[in-house]
Each structure stands twice: as C-alpha cells, then as structure tokens.
Amino acid sequence: MDTLESNAPLKARAKATVQESESIVVRFSGDSGDGMQLTGMQFTDTAAFLGNDLSTFPDFPAEIRAPIGTVAGVSGFQVHLGSKEIFTPGDTYDVLVAMNAAALKVDLSRLKKGGVLITNIAGFDRKNLGLAQYPEGVNPLEDHSLDNFIVHKIDLTKLTKECLTGSGLGTKEVERSKNMFVLGLLFWMFDKSMDSTIKFIEEKFAKKQDLANANIKTLKAGWDYGENTEIFNTRFNVNPAKLPKGVYRNITGNHATAIGLVAASEKSGLPLFLGSYPITPASDILHELSKYKANGVKTFQAEDEIAGVCSAIGASYTGSLAITTTSGPGMALKTEAVGLATILEIPLVIVNVQRGGPSTGLPTKTEQADLLMAMHGRHGEGPLPVLAAASPSDCFNMAYEACRIAVEHMTPVILLTDGYIANGSEPWRFPTEDELKAINVKFLTEANGVEGVLLPYKRDEKLVRPWIKPGTKGLEHRIGGLEKQNETGNVSYDPLNHEKMIHLRAEKIERIADFIPLAKPEFGKNKAKLLVLGWGSTYGSIKTAVLECMEEGMDIEQVHLYYINPFPKNLGELLKGYDNVVIPEMNCGQLLQLIRAKYLVPAVGLSKVQGLPFTTAELKSKFVELLK
C-alpha cells in the first residue's frame, strides 16, 4: 500500500474542486503552547501580501501556559479574508483548525454548517478528551456528532514526527513544529504561496539552521499532504480585494499606536518619551517604541503605573512629547497624576488600551467600559479631551491626533483603544510623511508680560498657556498642583479666582471642537429611520451590519465618533435628522448616557459585556427589531 502514495498527487489534483469565495473566515484553535498565534499571523501576512482585505482577532487566555489540554488553555487566532472590503474578523468560521479536543469544544459552535474542520487526532486521545471534559467514552471524532461538517482527521503529531525523523531535533522541538504542518496544509487549501513564511522562518532561525530547516521541511510537508492525499475535496480561492490603489502593509492596533506616536514626534520636532509599566493588553506599545532608540525615542519602564505617568509629566515639563500607556487598572492608578497634569496644563498623552474590568477582570479580553472614567475620572472639575480609535490602523490616526491636540492645546489627552483592535490587524494604506498634518509647537523664550514680567498662565485666543522649558534663561518660575492665580501662576486660594480658573480650563477644552473634524454620516445620509451611533472598536461590526441592512433596503445610517470630548460641533444638529438612534457599546451604556445627557436625544442602547466584540448578526437583529 505504501508504494501507492507516490501516485496520489495526480488523483488529488484532479479531484479537488476550487470554491471561489468573496470572503472566508478561518479560525486556528489550539493549546496555548501550540503556536496558534504565530500560525495565524503567518497565514494573515501572506493573505495580506497577496492582496486580500482582512481583519484578524487573536483571542488568547490570560495565562501564559494554562493547564495543557484544558478549555481554559485554548488560544485562538481568527482571520477573515476577502476579495471585498472586510471590517470584522467574522461571526462564524468557514474553516476551523482544532488542535485538540478542548479547542473543538470551545469553537465548534461557531463553525458554519458544512464548514471544514481540520483536527489533530493526537489531540483527541483519552487524556485530551478527559481534560476537555467530554464524558467518559465520548469522542466527537467518532460519534457522528460532526456529520454536518467536512471533517479531516489528521494525525499531525505523527506526521510531523515522521517528517522530522533524522533531523536531530528533540521530541519537544519536533512536537512544536506541528503548527507548521497545519500552516502548510492551509496554504495549499487556499493556494497561497509559502514564500513569505519561508523567509520569516529563515530570518527567525538565522542562527539555528537546524530549526529553520525543520520548520521549512514541515511546512512543505503540510502543503504536500494536501496535494498528495485524496481526502481534501475542497480548495478555496479568495481573489485579491478591490481596495483603493496604493501601497499597503498589515498592522495591529498597538503597532499603529506606537508609530503614530513616533510620527507625531518626528513631525513636531519634539523628542518622544514614553513612561510606562507593563500591562496587558498595552505592553506591545512599550515593546514597539523601545525599538526606536536610533531615532532618539526614550522609553522608561517605570517602577509602577504611577511612576509611568509621573515620569512622562516630568519629561513633558522639559519639552518632550510625553506619553504613558496602560489599561484599566493602570488608568485608575494614574488618575491623581493626570489631575496634576490637568492643573499644570502641560501636554501629555495617556493611552488606555481597554480590557474587561473592573479590577483584573478579563485581562486579555476586550471591553469599552472605561469611557466614563476617561470623561470623569478625575478629582475636581478637570475635563480633558477624549479620543477613541475605530480600527487597528485607525490607532495610528488617533494616536497622532492625540499628540497634536496635547501639544497644540497644552493639555493631557486620553486616547482609548481596546484589546480587540490593539491585537487585531488589518491592511493599512499608510500615509507618507508629507501627507501628515503639521503639528505646531512653540516654546516661550522671553517674558510675555509687561516690563519683562513672566506670565506662565497667560492664554492665547485658544486659551492655551505657553510651554516653557526649564533651562530657558530668565524665565525661572514654579508651577504646581495648588490652584493658580490667573496669568501669574502664583498660588492662590481666592474663591473667585478658583472658579475662574476652573471655567478657563474647561473652556480651553471646549474650544478644541474648533480644531477637530465634524461628525459625518458614513453613507452620506443626513436623514434616516435609524441611526447607529458608535465609538471605538465597534466601527467594523457596525459598518458590516449596517451595510447588510442597507442591502436589504432598510433606511439606516451610521455615524462613528472619534472625538468624544469635546464632541464634534455638529453632532447635536446631526442627531436631529434621524427618527431613532441606537448606540451599541461593549459596556452597559456609557456613550448612551453622555449623548442623552448632552443632547436630550431618546437614544437606546445595545450593550454587550462578554469580553468579546459584537457579531454582525447580533447588531443586525437589533437594528431590524428597531426598524420594524
């Protein structure tokens, strides 16, 4: 029988039909140690490189290595690729790779009927079934419970071992290579070139040639397995997407945030300083910025969250573009210092990559529940600009905008992203340096009052005070957390002065509305029966659902907010054009409160707080209900 194997390719090629698809969702699911994130990212990079539009969703547990084989330890990477524009990672999967029983248990419910299921038999032995808590004697691979799917049972462990016989690698390293086998097989199924991944492996293991060879060999073995065996009847073809012409790269939200900050530093001519403390899911910004030393970027891993923001305040004081990055619990710790920066009126960008809370909550899962904290989470009256990014690549735009507003308006700015877009990726038609808005910075170099008197809190027409670097001769002065006398900045406990300063600082933030874009209906309709108003990472899901509703003839429109404080100047007027307003949020209705309070609009909310983004279906069913 073995000798027949060599004849297989021709037969297989003849048999496999190619399914043309506009979009396909693939979910790689396995144990935390199975390398699913890397496999998914490699698959994504190749698809992006070959012109698909896409959106990814890495979904992993908080534990680095949760108990092997358990449901708690399942790590997933989802990618939605299309020949049309893609705005979400997809609700349900066309292809599910389940490396063990626990992965199947977690993800099977979202595999489409008739979908392709690739399983690793070795992950369904008695031990793994037990760990995944299937009842004794039950094996889903054998009990016909999967009859609605196209199931491929492959002994990946054994095939990888055979492939690497004589490679000189240890059992552990051989075992770890099995994700490459799957990746090779998937590349075959989607008819995608392995070149990009081969190059990646060669670079990654440049100093460990045996590992590089083994990984490439396993990758190719996976491809050949698809080609040579008869079991695969279906291959997929997703043509390149018709995206606007230009040069693209793939980017995650955290990466985009990092280079948005670098871009703002380069364009403003201000040195970049990041004071931060590691926290999931924000640490990648700190990691990324640490790589830009050659550009003079200073990253400071502080002793705690408070020192992170405080060191940034110190750096800002000396004239740096100062940033601190964090997530919910860290944001809470930074609050007092943000109050200081507010009364000092110095530039500072605070990036909060939101995650499920309160407390440690769901550290690796997403949520939008820090909006009201961003709006109101200060002691005393201290409004600040609040911005929110809508997608992975939009993190670049909004990080850049946060910096621009901070330095041009001398204020701390809070930028909200979240775990979903921070870790998710999408193709990005990146701008060139020249296309970026100018950032104008001026430092005061001589006294600005009469007769050579320095007035550190004298304001311009935007109500913005001057930025004065220590080291500037003749402008020595003290600033601090105590209330200041208007203009002189001297300590003042005068009741009316305090009230005046409160209003001046608030009015300064309000006036930023003159320097931000207006809100704009996504599809150009100023009137509709239903407006879906969103902010932050729900953009893609909302857009997909609204598009589907429109295709079915419903009278619906979408407005997405990137600036939440101050709101775009036209928002109140704009809202009046729609009969009903619904606000979907991954919280219990925080933007809803703000909108209702400010504009007295009877908006309704749609809330989801499961640590997961909205599915298109969830949104659509609510919109349909409201349009009835």
């Binding site: 693209y248 980017i251 030393k293 405080c310 003290r478």
Partner: protein
Amino acid sequence: MDTTTIEPNNKLVAKDFASNQEVKWCPGCGDYSILKQVQTVFPDLGIPKEKFVFISGIGCSSRFTYYMDTYGIHSIHGRAAAIASGVKLANPDLDVWVISGDGDALSIGGNHFIHAMRKNFNLNYLVFNNQIYGLTKGQYSPTSEKGKITKTTPFGSIEEPFNPTELALGAKASFVARSMDRDPKHLQAVLKRAHAFKGTSFVEVYTNCTVFNDEAFFAYSDKETKKDSAIFLEHGKPLIFGHNDEKGIVLEGHIPRIVNLKETTISPDSLWIHDEKDKTKANLISRFFDTEFNGEHFPRPFGVIYADERPLYEEQVTESIKQVAAKKGKVSLNDILSGDKTWTI
C-alpha cells in the same frame, strides 16, 4: 587695536535664589534653615540659575519649591522622585533637586524612593525628616519612634520606624548622608558634597517641627548633649566623639565597640577609620540608630555615610541611544510608516 573686555561680575548671591513668594512655614520651623543653607550654597555651585529644577511632593517640606527662584514643580504626594526621573531622563543637562519629607518619601512615596536609589539618576534627593506629619496636623510618620503619642495614636504608636539611611543603603543608594537644620555649616558642607557627587545623592535632613514634634532632634544640636549623642563622620578620619573627644569606636570583627581614649592605650590609628566607599561599614554605621551592639548604644552619625559613584541611569540611556544610532542610523519617518513588508494595489 586690541581691546580687552572685562567680564561683568555677575556671580549670583543667595538672595538671587529667593523667589518673590512669602514663605509660609510656622515660625521657628527647621525648614527655614534648610532653605537658607540651600540658597547660601547655590551661588557656589557654579551652575546657571536656569538649570536648577526643584521637584517636590506634598507636605510642609515640599512647599520649598515655591520659595526658590529657579524652575520647579510642586507636585503630588509621594511622586516627586518619579517626576524627577522623567525630567532628568528627558533632559540630563538640568540640575535636579528632589525635596521631600518623611511621609512623602518614605510612606506614600516609598516605592519611588527605593527605585530612585536603585536607578541612580544624577540628582539630589533631600528628605526633611521631622518624624511627624505636620501639614495634616500631627499624625505619626514612618519615622516616628515606637510609642509615639499622636492624634492617630493616642495610646502610643506600635510601629517600628524606618531608619532612612539604612533603607537607602538597602535600596542600593550610591550616596547617603545625614545632616540637620540646626547645624548650618554642616548642612552646607553636606549639600555641597551631595551636589558634587554624580549619582542619586540622598541626604536625610533632621528638621524641627515646632508645633507637633518640638525638640525631637535637640540632643544632636544642643551644646550639653550634642557631643555624646552625635558623631560627625569625615572620610579618612577615625570615629571619635564625646564631650572632650574622649570616645572612639573600634571595629572588632563586625561588631563595633566604644572605647574610652583616656583610659586605654588605643591609638587613634587603631580606631575605625571612616571609609565612605566601604559599603559594609556604611551599613554598620547607618545602624547607629536603634541597633545596640553588645548592649551599647551608639551615637547618631552625621555627614556622608556612604559615597561610591557608579554609572548613571541617564548617561547609560544616552550612551545606548548613541550606540544604536551609530549602528543602525536614524530611520526615516517614511520607512517607519511603511515597515518592511508592503504590497501595492
């Protein structure tokens, strides 16, 4: 024709460092003296006025910033060191002074304190220790002695106090000194030493709170008691104290012992010679606080307990940036924007 220009004599004087703000400490507060000594020594430091930056936290001591005619931030409770880290790292050229108190530095700001010692920026860190919370009107502090009766401990505090110099050494401080408000000359000398030292120079300054903890340190400055209660350290000099310099300290193994120089034949040469760079001995000296050795109580040490320079945080960062820049070269913004994997549609 050659002309000679004469540099105007623009040397600064103490009052150039006094701001126009009214000083609002209580009458008799020890902080007045510290302010005066700082303003007195500053003209001698040879630093342009605009380079000085004072960063303080919250508490009586931290109002200091407002009274110096330099740059400065009066910040939030406990965080001065963290803010100073950013100032110094972003602009190493500035001459940074952290002003803090026992509550600010050692209670609410304890974490920043120990990490500042460890990280070793080139800055000066003065902790005004009055062993009480003054601005909140008289609660015990982390340096208050055990048994202290205060508003929050009407029946006596049960807590062991920190010994700040011992804590600083444990946190890898590179410069540790102690001085006091009531010895202006000594304080001035220590301030100059702290400034000259490259690294985080920690100076604990005993200061008298006339309202809530009066005379807490008088034993170390009062004529009657000073010479028996305090020992003034000098590098390379034997440890001698007492009314008539009649007491010396010898080190037997790792146990110090007080000897009477009048009664023994011990020569000053065989006494413990103070070596600022000896960390082990510095640890022992710092423990002349509440530790008794063989049942003997030791005089409180003043002066520079430990001083040993090591690489500065900000210099290492600057150096590393230089090296990476030389090796990799500055990346253009367009290259950063495009990354290394792109495709064209």
